[in-house]
Amino acid sequence: MSNGPDWEQFGKDEWAAQEEARLGEAEAAGRLSFRLRRAWKGVDSRLKMLAALAVASMVPLLVHNSYLLRVAGLTGLYIMLSLGLNVVAGFAGLLDLGYVAFYGLGAYTYALLASPQFHQHWPFWLILPLVILVTALFGRLLGSPSLRLRGDYLAIVTLGFGQIASLLFLNLDRVSLPFLHLDRPLNITGGPNGIINVDDIRILGHTVETVSGYYYLILIFVALVFLVVFHLDRSRIGRAWRAIREDELAAQSMGVDVRRLKLLAFSAGAAIAGTAGVLFAAWQGAVFPSNFDVSILIILYSMVVLGGVGSIWGAVSGALILSVLPELLRSPEVARLIFYGALILAVLGLWRRARMRGLALLGSVGVLGIALKVTLTALRPAWFLQPELKVSVARSTFAPLMKALNWWMLFPRESRGVGNAAFVLALFLLLGVLRLKGTARYVLLVPGLYTLAFVWETRLVEEPSVTRMLIFGALLVLTMNYRPQGLFGERWVQKL
């Protein structure tokens, strides 16, 4: 690496490419994140891949719970999908909001050709190339308007395409053709009921049936996709994509075939999504329109953005973090541990140069909680649950912690209305905190954090699925505003 040019920096804006060097001289010694990144970059990529593969392939040996293994498999699918999205949105910088449609297209194609729906039972090795071909073709079709449209028009056209696809999945269950006389409407996609009894995958005479079987199959495909994307990134094509992303006009005048490369990005991303769709359909044994709706798109974008747009390891780690984290939120106990842990770490991290102030802040939040608890339970005991009712302490692994929580937090009997009001209040307080500076910010943070914790206990813990979506939405906004390069990505060029 030290000798010769650093190929990854080719095609990148010079200011962005030299970010490391600038930071290095000024702050290298001080910043943990910087040292971690440098250490990470120092390790050979092949070694990192092998290590990741080794850890991933041990998962079924260590985890015997089939639910957890399912989560691991889904994580693999998400990694695949975000790697594909990273090609389109990350490498080439094309905001493709119709990406999920290809995932759905792959899944529906497999389901139609390998299920009792039309009594077709094609083998996997035949369908897979077909799906790759079809999705790549559709990706090209979707991409062709991008040659004429600028960023935001492209976003809306692709979103429109995505919506059309999901409307078709939903509505192609009673098709009557104008010229062909059918005795009853044709049912293609099964409408909201989807297509069920989709065949399992058969390769080389083996039928993949078990959860761990599918896990390994997905792992193989993830590894393949990773290798392809990794080499694409370092190839001539990858460098040209970066050049287009940074400055399309400059790239074109340097002789980059913008048209061909943009279409290639679209079809590569689409083909990866289609492959993931095939695996998903076979694994779930059924496909429904709701599997491919907008929320999946937002989840995928959150993953790519969190990891760092344009970074391969970023896409992997973003997908890993954001698909494992929500599963942890399912258990209220672990969710609490993560929430309060993250809160405390965030405060200490933000005030790492003035640790006493950070500790004082946490202390004030604690005192505020106790004061509220004591006064309100004394004044209006009927409004609140008895401490032990809400958080079960007895069987908890973290009994002291839960006990402390019981004594600190208010648990209103009528939690819904109060919790909703507190949610709105917490939003306003925290938005205020973001806008204010100095002492006012510090003072406002105390009620802000307390209200946040209150909302967490009254509403968010009880509805993990909505909480998950809220976190994804907020994550997109916060990452864009405070760390647009995500965890692994390079800083973006500021156009002035």
Binding site: A474, V477, N481
Partner: protein, 309 residues
């Protein structure tokens, strides 16, 4: 075919109502785009929250089956509350999600907007649950009120929707063409830097634009609530996309274009729903969007702009 032709006047009326609502939503997109060249994805959600604010005021002022105030005052109050609330929401969104990203690459505010939209949707899902909420429009305007022309019945609710929408658009037209703020807005839309050099407080103009655009979106939410009576947390997504389609139809950034585009889309959709199948209503709207962007990306009224390099 004869049957369909008989339905035509009714479909035209439906299209006119729907179109005036789309036009109101489209204005929010178009105004913001005109000034910031930013696609405010969260606008659909602002409209949805407007519908919920209107519902909240209705529920507050009509406990049980009795109205506390005269119907006209209630409708006015609902509109005012939704417009103020949504205007404020729009300003807050601009402040937190877009302002820090004004100089960033184009993809950044788009992703941020996507996040805001998703967050708002789920915030409403959390606080209001997924249950459909009902506007009891029948209490305000008896269903039997209406007139019929050429075989089409126009209910009073539809007339109200059209009248309110037209009044709001006229108001906007006056504001943009005849006031100092409107002049500042037009100047900013033309060239932000030059406007700033001429002493226009660009930030204030942007805030005002977001406020007005979002307030119109909120009003559209209340009107849709009155018309279709049901509101829910996911209603903003499709409506937002259609509002954007309407804005593009008329040439984005162009205010009269947004009005025309809204009417055009409303008509196409209703007539399509009548002649093909109501199931494909949304499909028709999105196909219009894509065909339009492919063949006439500057819209029906838009002029071809030189791309600045």
């Amino acid at each position: 075919m004869d049957m369909l032709l008989k339905q035509l006047p009714q479909q035209l009326v439906n299209g006119l109502t729907l179109g005036s609502v789309y036009a109101l939503i489209a204005l929010g997109y178009s105004m913001v785009y005109g000034i910031l060249q930013l696609l405010n994805f969260a606008h659909g959600e602002v409209y949805m929250i407007g519908a919920f604010i209107g519902w909240g005021v209705f529920a507050l002022l009509a406990p049980g089956d009795t109205l506390l105030l005269p119907a006209l005052v209630m409708i006015l109050l609902m509109l005012m509350a939704a417009m103020l609330g949504c205007g404020f929401l729009g300003v807050v969104i601009e402040w937190f999600a877009y302002r820090p990203l004004r100089e960033a690459p184009r993809i950044a505010p788009l992703i941020s907007a996507l996040g805001v939209s998703f967050f708002l949707q789920n915030a409403v899902l959390l606080t209001m649950s997924a249950r459909y909420r009902t506007y009891r429009t029948g209490l305000l305007i008896p269903r039997t009120w209406g007139i019929s022309i050429f075989g089409a019945t126009i209910s009073f609710t539809r007339i109200l929707v059209i009248v309110v929408a037209v009044l709001l658009m006229l108001g906007l037209h006056y504001l943009v063409q005849r006031t100092r703020l409107g002049k500042a807005m037009r100047a900013t839309a033309q060239d932000r830097e030059a406007a700033a050099m001429m002493g226009i407080d660009v930030d204030r103009v942007i805030v005002a634009t977001f406020f007005i655009g979002s307030a119109l979106g909120g009003a559209a939410g209340v009107l849709v609530g009155l018309l279709f009576t049901q509101v829910y947390h996911f209603m903003g997504f499709t409506a937002g996309l259609k509002g954007f389609t309407a804005a593009v139809c008329g040439g984005i950034g162009n205010i009269p274009g947004a009005m025309l585009g809204g009417l055009f889309l409303g008509m196409v959709e209703s007539i399509g729903a009548g002649f093909i199948s109501p199931r494909y209503k949304d499909l028709i709207a999105f196909c219009v969007l894509i065909l339009l962007l492919l063949f006439r990306p500057r819209g029906l009224l838009g002029v071809k702009a030189q791309e600045k390099v």
